[in-house]
Symmetry: C2
Subunit: 248 residues, 2 copies
């Protein structure tokens, strides 16, 4: 029997999960998908490998995962079956046969994250839990200019969580820009070869300080060069962060 | 004492209300705002006049209303006070002093509505309740071309609810177009001098039939000319509709 390798494109609302990674007694994206797949594929065990683990509360428009199985269940039945059984908050957008050597994590050559902020005095009922509300005035031109200084291949240790276990803090950030969504609502877009734990959220928390004038323009590269996490800003909350795309 | 005229810019999540208009024993946008304003302005009664009544379930990024009052409560306190007291789902984005003759309904010279559709086989966890999910294939180019035939000053009786009480079914539709939001997610944008009851939702329900090939291209103008509501498509569900802007 030939083993199949199935590639899944996934969307999820991070607020309904304790992050990506399977955990005993907690509802996670990986756990919900694996539980549904066991039923759909009629197997005792299955492993869903994601392109990366998203933290609790982080959303995904387009996470990618792969699943290896001997099951002959047709793709369309896998997609529908998982969507019927995985419970609220996560859906398989597409399911495709992938080449044997496709690995959602190992084959990825980059990722795009979007971080949505709402910058105005009043909160937004329609973006509740979907954007970080910043009620103080910010200079968005300054923020935009600061983001443009960031792309580089560099050691990003100043922008990673203290418990980040990555062996290599050198990553290439290819793009960092501001995209306007609507009045007061903007997305900070980051594209890179890979990201350290909480890197995007710490970049956002620091960029905000520049935008509001508490850190001087140019601070972000200086902080990066200093390699000191305590010099950077706060970790922006998870609910503004979206995995937008995985590049292969 | 001079009467003030206060202009409010409002955002709301339609799913938490039984529409705009005040109703006994039901939570409505107007009702929630008036209840909060009575406390904030310290008055026995107050009337919030909207640019138009949205149906139950319809959202607003930017509804406009005005309130006449003798109260001297500062604008900033009105904005914050209403936001603290109106309950979830509605917020005052801005509160401004308006000229005496400003009337949210009467002064409006046009409106922009957006109707969001999700066109793909799987539903979207992140757009749940925020877009109309259409799982069948559609030709978006055909849909776009059909929308472009619509702008006109015409009798729109074929596209109004049977219980629409408007004395004049002649309205000018200035713009009808498709805006891509992301993969599979599109907004049908309509700008006009005014809209009949459920007009946008019936236009959308009919445009969808053209997009999926059940109505021939050109049908929408033909149906309009026929003045017969029963020839048009279904009324699209409320949860995809957003009041995007009121023009003055």
């Amino acid at each position: 029997m030939t083993e199949r390798n199935i590639r899944l494109l996934l969307e999820y609302d991070g607020s309904t999960f304790h992050g990506w990674q399977r955990q005993p007694n907690l509802r996670t994206v990986q756990g919900a998908l694996e539980a549904a797949l066991k039923v759909v594929l009629r197997v005792d065990d299955v492993y869903v490998k994601g392109s990366g683990r998203t933290d609790a509360g982080v959303h995904a428009w387009a996470q990618v995962a792969n699943v290896r199985t001997d099951s002959t269940t047709p793709l369309e039945r896998i997609r529908r079956g998982v969507n019927a059984l995985a419970g609220e908050g996560v859906r398989v957008v597409t399911a495709e046969e992938a080449p044997e050597d496709f690995d959602a994590l190992g084959s990825a050559c980059g990722k795009v994250y979007g971080y949505r902020i709402l910058n105005r005095p009043s909160p937004s009922p329609l973006l509740e839990g979907r954007a970080w509300w910043l009620r103080f005035p910010m200079d968005l031109d300054v923020l935009k200019t600061e983001l443009a200084t960031l792309p580089a291949t560099a050691d990003w240790s100043a922008y990673r969580a203290s418990d980040c276990g990555s062996p290599d803090p050198v990553k290439t950030l290819r793009r960092a820009e501001l995209r306007e969504e609507r009045d007061g609502c903007h997305t900070l877009v980051f594209e890179g070869s890979g990201f350290l734990k909480q890197m995007v959220r710490i970049l956002v928390g620091t960029a905000i300080e520049v935008g509001r004038g508490r850190f001087a323009p140019g601070s972000m590269v200086e902080i990066r060069n200093g390699l000191d996490r305590t010099a950077a800003g706060q970790t922006a909350p998870a609910h503004g962060l979206y995995m937008e795309r995985v590049l292969y």
